[in-house]
Structures are given as C-alpha cells and as structure tokens.
C-alpha cells in the first residue's frame, strides 16, 4: 500500500487532491455524484463581502486544450456563505475546508479573514489577490510586492487560521511576489491563478466574451504552472499548493515533483465532473508504476 497523505501547515490531508475555487461551487453539484469525503479538501467558490452577480455574459470561451472564463466572482456574499453554504457542505464533507476569499480593499480582506477564520469548518484561508476578472481589486493586489505584503500582513493580524496567498501568473516576476508574501507572514502559497487571455470571433470580428479578456485555464497552461510552482517553491520555505491545468494523476505527481505539497484541480471538474475522484483512484497505481511509496517524499524532488 502506497502512502498518498500529505500536509499543509499542520493540517493532515488524506490525499493531495483539492477541487479549485470557482469550479466546485459549494459542493452541491458534486455530492450526488460521489462521496466528497474522498477529497483531500475543497476550496470553495471565491467569496466576497457582498453578494455579486459577476460580469455580463458571455463569460465563457473555448480554447485548444483549455477555456477562458470571465465569471467575475459570482457568489452569494460572506454572510450567506457562512450561514447557509458552509453548513450544507459540512453535511457532505467532514474535513477542514479551504476558504477562498477576495476583497476590493484591505479592510474588505480583513473583514473576510476575520469572519472566515471563525468558521470551525475552515482549515485554511486562501486569499485571492489574483482574480483577473474584477476591476479595482483582485489582480490589482496581486501584481505588486508592496500590495501583496500589505494585504498579507493585515490578514495575518486577524486570522486564526493559516493564510495562503493565491498568486497571479500575470506578473513579470512571480518569485519576488511570492517572497513578499512569505516575508509578510503568509503560511503558504497557492499558484497559479488563471492566465489573462482573449479569443476573437472571427466571423463577427468581436471578442467572444463580453469582458473581452478573461482567465485562461485548462491543460494548455499546465507547463506554465509547473514552471512557476518550481521557481516559487525553490525560493520560499512555506508550502505551495500547485494548480493550473492538472487533469490526471500523472500531472499531480509532476506538480508535486516541481514543489507542490498539495494540488488543486480546476477546469478538469467542468469537463468531467468525476475528474477528482478518478485522479484520486489513479494516484496509487501511478505511484506504484513509478516506484513511489510515499507521496510526500517526492515534493520538490526535482533540483
């Protein structure tokens, strides 16, 4: 029997597979399909202080081996998430959750961190400073070292749970941003968020999505994600959750060899709702083929 367990900031995960925020809602579309307790954790839909509809439609464009979305953080708002969505999810999932939060100002991030870290079901705060789909917030925070430092420091002052900063790949040097977060006290890092992308409908001579640009995800971005996880994990001491285009157990192994302690699965859930289950079931077989006895042994094994 191979050992597929891993750990994030003292929280033991039965396996490294976590559905990524924005592709799993609050679990409701999946709990009839399979037992959610097989998952390592769940990063639930990015939550803001107020309810949001998000961007105008269309919000989705297809790409070769991927997709662009410009949903724009549609969610019912912090209070409803805490009072209604998390309790419903907790009936189907009995492990610590990853609470993905997104603000439009430092006081909003602080408010979200205060409230979410009080929720007993929440194990980790995943702070989205990298959403490409909202103006005046999100990515604006994640693209400068100063902003990342400040938001991390302020959240750390109030959070009772480990704080993971979710980084944008849409920067010149992701390593310096990662270090800024670590220096400001981040307990871990999540990367990568989506790459800023665009598609044009050549018949209509117009962008496919209403917002023109959106976040590009799916297998096409996997090599970029592996590269960034590798660069960042070599430069920081805190654990990294690796994500970006993972679609199979072999990708999980590759991402962990690059330096990830756990992984998130995003777009794959949308094209195959059973993706996470299949990956978790495949993982031991792939490990056996590769003579890996203990998954945590391979974290960052590539020099």
């Amino acid at each position: 029997m191979v050992d597929i367990t891993t750990e994030l900031s003292g929280i033991k995960l039965t396996n490294p597979v976590i559905p990524a925020s924005g592709t799993f809602g609050f679990g409701q579309e999946y709990w009839d399909l399979y037992d959610l307790d097989i998952l390592g954790s769940i990063s639930f839909k990015g939550t803001t202080v107020e309810e949001r509809f998000g961007n105008e439609l269309p919000r989705i464009a297809e790409c070769s081996q991927g997709m662009i979305n410009s949903v724009g953080l549609q969610n019912p708002g912090m209070d409803t998430v805490i009072k209604e969505e998390i309790p419903k999810l907790a009936k189907h999932f009995h492990k610590p959750l990853v609470a993905n939060i997104s603000g439009f100002s430092i006081p909003e991030y602080v408010k979200l961190a205060e409230a979410m870290s009080e929720v007993p079901e929440v194990g980790i705060l995943e702070v989205n400073v990298s959403c490409p789909n909202v103006h005046g917030g999100g990515m604006a925070f994640g693209t400068s070292c100063e902003n990342v430092s400040e938001v991390t420091r302020e959240i750390k002052k109030v959070s009772k749970k480990p704080v993971y900063i979710k980084l944008s790949p849409n920067v010149t040097d992701i390593v310096s941003i990662a270090k800024a977060a670590e220096d400001a006290g981040a307990d871990g890092l999540s990367l990568i968020n989506t790459l800023l992308g665009m598609r044009i409908d050549i018949k209509r001579r117009q962008p496919v999505i209403h917002n023109k640009m959106g976040g590009f995800s799916g297998p096409a971005i996997f090599p970029v994600a592996v590269r960034m996880v590798y660069q960042v994990s070599k430069a920081v001491k805190v654990p990294v959750i690796g994500m970006g285009g993972i679609s199979g157990a072999q990708d999980v192994i590759e991402m962990m060899m690059a330096g990830a302690s756990a992984v998130e699965i995003g777009a794959a859930n949308l094209v195959d709702p059973m993706a996470c289950k299949k990956i978790i079931e495949d993982l031991p077989h792939v490990m056996e083929e590769l003579n890996i006895d203990k998954l945590s042994d391979i974290i960052g094994c590539v020099e």
């Binding site: 579309e29 989705i60 297809e62 549609q74 777009a267």
Partner: protein
C-alpha cells in the same frame, strides 16, 4: 445527471446546416422534454450542449446546427462511432403547469426540443397548436414530424418563401399560454403577446451542470443558472 457512452446510429443533414443524429445508449436520466445533453467531441475541450429532440428507453435523437468547429466535427461523425455525453441536464418543461390550449412556438434550431414536448403533451391529453418560424424555405425542418403527431402545425418564414410571411408571432393567433424555444429576440416577441408560458433560453456554457457560473441569468427570483435552474424559465420570473 449521467455520463453515458452512445453509439451513433444515424447522422444526416436536414437542411444545409442542421443535422439530425440518432444515438443508442442509456437515456434513463432524461426525465422531461426541454432537457439537454452535453456532448464530449473528441479533440474539443469544452462539451457542446444540445437539446434532446426525442428519446425512448435506449435511443435518443438530437438535432443540432453547425455553428462552429465543434459542431462541424460532430457533423462528420459516422454511424458506428461512439460519443460520450452528460445526460439529463437542465430542468425541462413543467408539464403540470400547462393549460388545455397552449401554443408551442419554435424558431430555427430552437424547434427540436419542442417535438418531444408536443409528443408528451399528446400523451397526457393536451393537443398543442404548433407554430414554427424559419428564415426561408430551405431552413424549414420537422414540419411533417410534428404533423404526424396529430397536432395542428403552421409555419412562417421571414421572407415568405414558405408558409405565412413573417415571424412566429404572426401565426400564434390568440393563444394565451406559450411553450417557447428559439433565439432570444423571438422569445421576447412571443413573451410580449401571450399572458403566460415557459421559455427556453440559450447560453454559452462552461460545464452544463451548474458548477462554473458561466451561464448565469438575472431573474425576478435572483440569480439563476441557465444550465441547471433553466434552460426553461417561466414568464413571471423572466427579466429581459
């Protein structure tokens, strides 16, 4: 929702860009007319949502329009090929809420799901009046199939080359209750001339089963997802 592998039995053009495909496989998760399936096309990343035109225990008919590379690939697939699809998606028409004398109003590639609806209505003792709208004579399909169900059918074409000249709204008469599927301007036109009804909306979808929030829609009852809470919306909840 079920992920099902289907064997393609037939895949034939009905008009220049509208194709009819019949499939053999498990249809047990399809419960109501107006639901759709989300097809995995080899080599394409996102699935393609296509409404169900008709189904029985082990067979399924879809009618789709070639609008892009994915549906073009689909049109080249041959009998004997296999495709997989998530089945039983969306809410479908609510048959319990339909009064005695409804009009079924369809436009273009919005017509197919209305066939199963007309059939189901006949089964429960309601004879709908069917009004179908197309751009031109060459685009007309499924008139004979509707007639074979024993329901009155009328066709309008925008250029008047077949049937009445004009839009679906010109041939729906004084019916109060509409069951509608078609492009959004057509839905809105019908909405404006009837008292009540159920309207099927199209949207560009990511997942098709409610997870990604790609196809959200503002309604009088809050934010809904076209794929999961729809695609059928009742007249009283629609915001244009």
């Amino acid at each position: 929702m079920k992920d099902v592998e289907f064997k393609i039995l037939t895949n034939e053009p009905l008009t220049e860009d509208i194709f009819k495909m019949t499939l053999d496989g498990d249809t047990s998760s399809i419960q109501r007319p107006g639901q759709f399936i989300n097809i995995k096309i080899p080599g394409r990343y996102l699935r393609r949502p296509i409404s169900v035109c008709d189904w029985s225990k082990n067979s399924l008919t879809i009618i789709y329009k070639v609008v892009g590379a994915g549906t073009e690939d689909l049109s080249y697939m041959e009998p004997g090929d296999y495709i997989t699809a998530l089945t039983g998606l969306g809410n479908g028409y609510n048959l319990k809420k339909i009064p005695k004398n409804p009009v079924i109003a369809g436009g273009g590639v919005g017509v197919p799901p209305l066939y199963a609806l007309a059939k189901e209505l006949k089964n429960i003792g309601i004879t709908p009046y069917v009004a179908l709208g197309f751009n031109t004579k060459a685009d007309v399909f499924y008139e004979a199939e509707f007639k074979a169900l024993g329901v009155p059918v009328n066709v309008a074409t925008v250029d008047g080359s077949y049937g009445a000249k004009g839009f679906v709204t010109d041939i729906i008469g004084d019916h109060d209750y509409a069951l509608c599927c078609g492009p959004e301007p057509m839905l809105k036109a019908v909405y404006n001339v009837v008292k009540d009804g159920q309207f099927s909306f199209e949207s560009r979808m990511g997942c098709g089963f409610g997870a990604c929030m790609g196809c959200s829609k503002k309604t009088k009852h809050g934010f809904k997802r076209v794929c999961k809470d729809g695609p059928i919306f009742t007249m009283e909840e629609i915001i244009w």
